[in-house]
Amino acid sequence: MATMDATAETAPPPAKPYLFHRHALAVRVTHWVNALAIFLLIMTGLNIFNAHPMLYWGEYGANPDVARQWLQIGADTNAAGQDFGFLRIGSLTVETTGVLGLSTGSNGAPSYIGYPSWATFPSYRDLATARTFHFFFAWVLIINGWLYLAFSLASGHLKKDLLPKLKELSIGNIVHDIVQHARLKFPKGEEAKRYHILQKLAYGGVVLVLIPGVILTGLTMSPGTNAAWPWLVELFGGRPSARSLHFVFANLIILFIIVHLLMVVLAGPINEIRSMITGKFRVDPETAA
């Protein structure tokens, strides 16, 4: 260290990598609590969905109401007498044997179930346990979410780091960022110290739209909440519609997570994940500059 300090004195400061305090403690803690809660909520949610793998629009919706059903995961037998799994959305049906409708259970035997055992918690059909875990982690998600929002508002994190500035929203800037991402060119040096527009839109969208959306639609599947706050479920057009939207929000969150993890890996997983654990992010000054 002593020798490095000595060289530092003669060189201009940004010429060597240095550590930058990127994430506040409150953001780091709430991020990981949130990630744990979301993973459990998704896996228990898919188990709950398996109890009735059909979705409807409107004020009511059950097996006889086929006209209101817009999505179904199921299994059927084809002309050759062979069973197959399928996903149906509207009038479009795709065969999904092996993943949806018909898959291999955790015991190795064929399982006629919506989502496969590897995607659900517990890995077998167990609505009671899945519900208990789902509602516990829903509480965790909500309390943790309020703490994150309170911190982000009070510290200015939301306004400063997450909400896009007007000039960032120009088509040119967005297109530029899309092109940079497509070329797998991630910001380097001083530019890496802040979120860019696609990142802001993705994080802002998750924090302000998808997570609040999944919570509110989740609440309105509860008959107790609906008696207390009747206006909320009507906002979504009824409980079956709220259940459909809950599923849509959950799937958008899954999509976000896939892209999020991909980006973390592509941008340099060690530096990125360390910054979300210790707060410190290494900045490598661009040598070409």
Binding site: L19, H52, N63, D65, F133, S222
Partner: protein, 265 residues
């Protein structure tokens, strides 16, 4: 540079490993579901939910719909027809000799015939039935408020719950998962829900007498909770101070099989 990087990447790696480990644990480890300590913690969510819902809407009313919004085909779920001899005998007589017994912590135990129940002042409500599995159906229900019956029976001061004893032995449903042995169906609610204005003992549905599939001769409607609380084929009410002594003591057939007793969610 390497001196600076080394300790940090090691820490980064530990973080990465911990995350990956947590992921593996979740996907592969059903042991979490049967861990007693963890199960106690996650079950605390139920009490939090009940307290929260009572806080925001102790007197809230379930939405009531218009006849034009009725489900054209209200799905029969759970028991379709009790096979037990006692029930079959009542059914053969069109429930003429069936009687509802109100017993337990009441000063005035009583039995009521179906005719007497039908002649009581009734409430008609069109509500949405929300099944724990995820489907919903809208139906019209008519019957006396449970509070009216409880007042007539004159509850003792230590009363805390009403237990509904049903006619059907039930064997569970595969779609609901878990171990599902056969036993007599029963349910229970606390006094807040028992005296809620929309809590009725329905003898009619969609304008006609309750069908066998939907719970003839009377079923409970407790509109702010899920479908499994809406006990069908009710034969008697017990007013009690504790749920011990019924089934496994959790307050209901499904509750004994892991479902929440407070089914407002």
């Amino acid at each position: 540079m390497s001196a600076l990087l080394k300790p940090l990447s090691r820490r980064g790696l530990i973080g990465f490993g911990a995350t990956a480990g947590a992921g593996l644990l979740l996907s592969g480890c059903d042991g979490l579901a049967s861990n007693d300590k963890l199960s106690k913690i996650v079950k605390s969510g139920e009490a939090a939910t009940q307290r929260w819902q009572r806080l925001i809407g102790r007197d809230g009313l379930a939405k009531e719909f218009d006849v034009s919004q009725l489900s054209p085909d209200f799905k029969v779920n759970g028991t379709h027809e009790p096979v037990e001899a006692e029930y079959q005998a009542h059914k053969a007589e069109n429930f003429a000799n069936w009687k509802l017994a109100i017993t337990g912590l009441v000063n005035n135990p009583m039995t009521l015939s179906l005719d007497q129940i039908r002649r009581m002042p009734a409430r008609t409500q069109i509500t949405r039935h929300d099944c724990v599995e995820g489907w919903s159906a809208i139906g019209q229900w008519t019957g006396p408020q449970l509070g009216l019956l409880l007042k007539a029976a004159n509850m003792k001061t230590n009363a805390r719950y009403v237990v509904f004893k049903c006619a059907d032995n039930y064997g569970g449903e595969a779609s609901k998962g878990g171990a599902q042995s056969t036993s007599l169906y029963y349910e229970s609610i606390d006094l807040v829900d028992a005296f809620h204005p929309q809590t009725i003992l329905a003898h009619s549905m969609n304008g006609g007498p309750l069908s066998v599939g939907h719970g003839a001769p009377v079923r409970l409607r407790v509109e702010r909770q899920l479908g499994y609380k809406q006990a069908k084929y009710v034969m008697g009410l017990d007013v009690v101070s504790s749920l011990d002594g019924y089934g496994s003591g959790k307050g209901g057939y499904w509750e004994d099989r892991g479902y929440e007793w407070y089914a407002g969610i």
